[in-house]
């Protein structure tokens, strides 16, 4: 589902709303750890907000194998927690394929496609609360922190469905930046 313009205040209201608002405002919630693309400003903002909430963050570099086998796999099997990310598509694509072997799946994803003028189109797939929160995101920069708040307050009691699974391949449009916010559990 694609969304257009809305106010930042609306986005924040949504992520602190009744469905997602069980955790404290500065709590990591169920998040075990998070992954971010340090190449992108929104990825850094996402990580900074989660670090403030004491979530362990990993930079998704060129070597996704090191990220999965070295950083994520062992930790997740120990805690059974969620892992969130704001990354490029290829990182999510690989992690989603790898997660199946650990009995995990993508619970929601929000694609943020940014054109050369900085306009952002957000497309969400997943539970209604995510769709609602995404609808209120502004179609411009500044979504990294909001997606971090959303991830930290996501609850596993959200109904699971197949909408968020395998939505795209690893490729990104040539003239645009395609980022994705996601939760795997």
């Amino acid at each position: 589902m694609k969304f257009g313009a809305a106010g930042l205040a609306g986005a924040l209201a949504a992520v602190h709303g009744p469905v997602l608002g069980a955790a404290r405002a500065d709590s990591p919630g169920l998040l075990h750890c998070a992954v971010f693309s340090a190449r992108f400003r929104q990825g850094v903002a996402f990580a900074e907000e989660l670090q403030r909430r004491h979530v362990v963050t990993f930079s998704a570099g060129h070597d996704i194998a090191k990220l999965w086998y070295g950083d994520l796999e062992g930790g997740m099997s120990q805690t059974g927690g969620l892992i969130a990310g704001l990354t490029d598509r290829v990182t999510l694509f690989c992690l989603e394929e790898l997660a199946r072997s650990a009995g995990m799946r993508v619970l929601y994803r929000v694609d943020h496609v940014i054109d050369k003028h900085g306009n952002v189109e957000h497309t969400a797939a997943g539970p209604a609360s995510i769709l609602e929160a995404t609808r209120k995101l502004v179609p411009a920069s500044g979504f990294g922190r909001e997606m971090a708040v959303l991830a930290s307050q996501f609850e596993l009691r959200e109904p699971k469905d197949t909408a968020a699974l395998k939505q795209t391949g690893p490729f990104s449009p040539e003239n645009k930046v395609a980022l994705v916010s996601w939760v795997i559990a």
């Binding site: 799946r105 391949g169 490729f171 449009p173």
Partner: protein, 540 residues
């Protein structure tokens, strides 16, 4: 929920209950959100009725459970589709060949049963990935090198059974060729060990592959005659060093002697997989540059026109990187010998020394090491590289269906295959991926691959066009004797119809085996065109 064909809901539910009794409730997956995990991410039928989706999945943890699943499947005529890691994207991934099959996910059978450093072999279960085996060897500082495919997230068992390949010297990079011994649950639930594994108390199961009597291991590759539950592999002793060297040659027609000289070193097992290129542009796929596109306005250029084009570009026409493995003394000597032979065979050949690396690569340098698969290190970096390749555009593909044509190991065949693929794309009105400077892949040492990647989408109309293109490339290549060696389930019937000598005698033989070995047709119906008799219909 999708049901298996010709199975009632009551029978299916009864089978699922028996699966649960055998495996435990947790390891039988039937919910939509669980089953959807097994969709093929690169499906060329995504979202269409023909998409090969599973009805359920089961995850046994031991051989006895696999046998029980097979017995239940026979009882209720449930089609099964075994996967190891299910990540062989472009060839079906984790999705079954036939819609409605129950995926037998062998991910929990992930034990590394034996690694013998001195005798240089491993025995593993199907759920063991290349990463798992690599980490096992590394953590124990065993002096062994794995030959890995790229990406390396698959399993040695699955990759070998699908005729996958790697990068080291020829007798290791043919992954099925370097296996030794297997254990198979038959479609009727029996358990067979091949080669010396059939001899109780033998210690040579992973050392002598043939045992006595007919050698049957090959029938379990790209087939549906059983579920492989163990497999042995020969490993390469860790070489002391790795040396690369690059050769360039000036003229277009120098490609022929370049290939002949490389093949000399290849057939002596003195090098790993050679990496051909063209400094003028092109490389593996070689979409024509603007200059070359202008030259090709009136069709494929003549040899004279190409030679003149090369001269005008003031760069060498071709290159090849050679990789040497062994003690420092021998890799240096082999590179010197290569320089001598190429200089004599090809006037104007030039040489560039590469870096000499001591092996194994220190752990702290591994993350930043380039070209990991050539050093036996599994990687996923191919995804981050290709996600930004020229395939991507304003409307990027979501995946690709690979067509890897096997062509003779000679320049004229490379050029012929590139032209066939080029013209197939042109017939479709699509920008060609190939041109006169396209170069081959040499996974299997005795012949070349000319590869093309047909895009796949989450869009039915675009996928329809891609299927048409894929079929055209396959048809045109087959007319020239260029056979594809593996393909996604969507094209397996079409592919096998090309291997038609003597009124499809090969397929008819496969069918006879199927009818005998798997009379109820429960294992992977349709895989590589082998359908059970009851489903054969007009396909035969």
């Amino acid at each position: 929920m999708v049901l298996p064909p010709n199975v009632s809901e009551a029978d299916f539910n009864a089978a699922l209950n028996e699966f649960r009794s055998a495996l435990g409730e947790s390891w039988v997956f039937t919910s939509d959100e669980d089953v959807a995990l097994y969709r093929d991410s690169y499906s060329i039928y995504w979202g269409e009725p023909e998409e090969r989706v599973a009805s359920a999945a089961v995850a046994p943890v031991k051989v006895e459970e696999v046998q029980q699943v097979v017995r239940t499947a026979n009882k209720y005529r449930i089609p099964l589709y075994p996967i190891s890691t299910g990540r062989n994207l472009t060839y079906g991934g984790s999705a079954p060949t036939m819609r409605g099959s129950v995926v037998v996910d062998l991910k929990r059978m992930n034990r590394i049963l034996e690694v013998d450093e001195k005798r240089a072999f491993a025995l593993v279960e199907p759920g063991v990935s290349y990463f798992d085996l690599y980490h096992y060897i590394r953590e124990r500082s065993l002096k062994l090198m794995l030959d890995v495919p790229d990406p390396g997230w698959g399993s040695p068992v699955g990759n070998s059974l699908d005729h996958g390949a790697g990068y080291l010297t020829s007798h290791f990079r043919d992954h099925f060729g370097s296996h030794c011994g297997m254990e198979v649950v038959t479609p009727e639930g029996d358990l067979v060990r091949t080669g010396m594994g059939a001899l109780p108390n033998s210690e040579t199961w992973q050392e002598f592959r043939y045992g006595a009597g007919p050698y049957i291991d090959g029938i379990f590759t790209q087939s549906n005659f059983g579920i492989v539950t163990k497999m042995g592999f020969w490993l390469m002793p860790m070489p002391e060093s790795y040396l690369t060297g690059t050769i360039t040659v000036p003229r277009y027609q120098d490609f022929e002697p370049l290939i002949e000289e490389v093949s000399y070193f290849e057939d002596l097992s003195l090098i790993g997989m050679p990496q051909y290129g063209s400094p003028i542009g092109g490389g593996l796929f070689g979409p024509p540059s603007p200059d070359l596109a202008a030259l090709m306005q009136n069709g494929w250029p003549s040899m004279d026109a190409l030679e003149n084009y090369v001269v005008a570009q003031k760069r060498p026409a071709w290159s090849v990187e050679l990789n040497f493995y062994g003690p420092e003394e021998t890799v240096r000597a082999n590179w010197q010998a290569a320089k001598r032979r190429f200089a004599k065979a090809i006037p104007g050949a030039a040489f560039q020394d590469g870096e000499l690396l001591a092996l194994p690569i220190p752990k702290e340098k591994e993350a930043t090491q380039g070209d990991k698969p050539r050093l036996g290190i599994p990687a996923l970096e191919v995804f981050t590289i290709t996600s930004r390749n020229p395939m991507t555009n304003s409307d990027p593909a979501d995946g690709h269906a690979d067509f890897f044509a096997y062509v003779p190991r000679k320049a004229s065949a490379v050029w012929a295959a590139a032209r066939v693929m080029y013209e197939a794309y042109r017939e479709m009105g699509m920008p060609p991926m190939h041109g006169p400077f396209s170069t081959p892949i040499n996974y299997y040492s005795r012949c070349f691959i000319m590869a093309t990647l047909v895009p796949t989408y989450r869009n039915a109309a675009k996928n329809a066009r891609s299927r048409e293109l894929f079929a055209k490339v396959m048809d045109r290549c087959a007319e020239h004797g260029f056979g594809c060696y593996r393909t996604s389930p969507a094209f397996q019937d079409r592919l096998m119809s090309k291997y038609s000598f003597n009124n499809n005698a090969l397929l008819r033989f496969h069918q006879k085996l199927k009818d005998s070995i798997d009379p109820n047709g429960i294992i992977s119906p349709g895989r590589y065109g082998i359908w059970p008799a009851k489903m054969r219909g007009n396909r035969a």
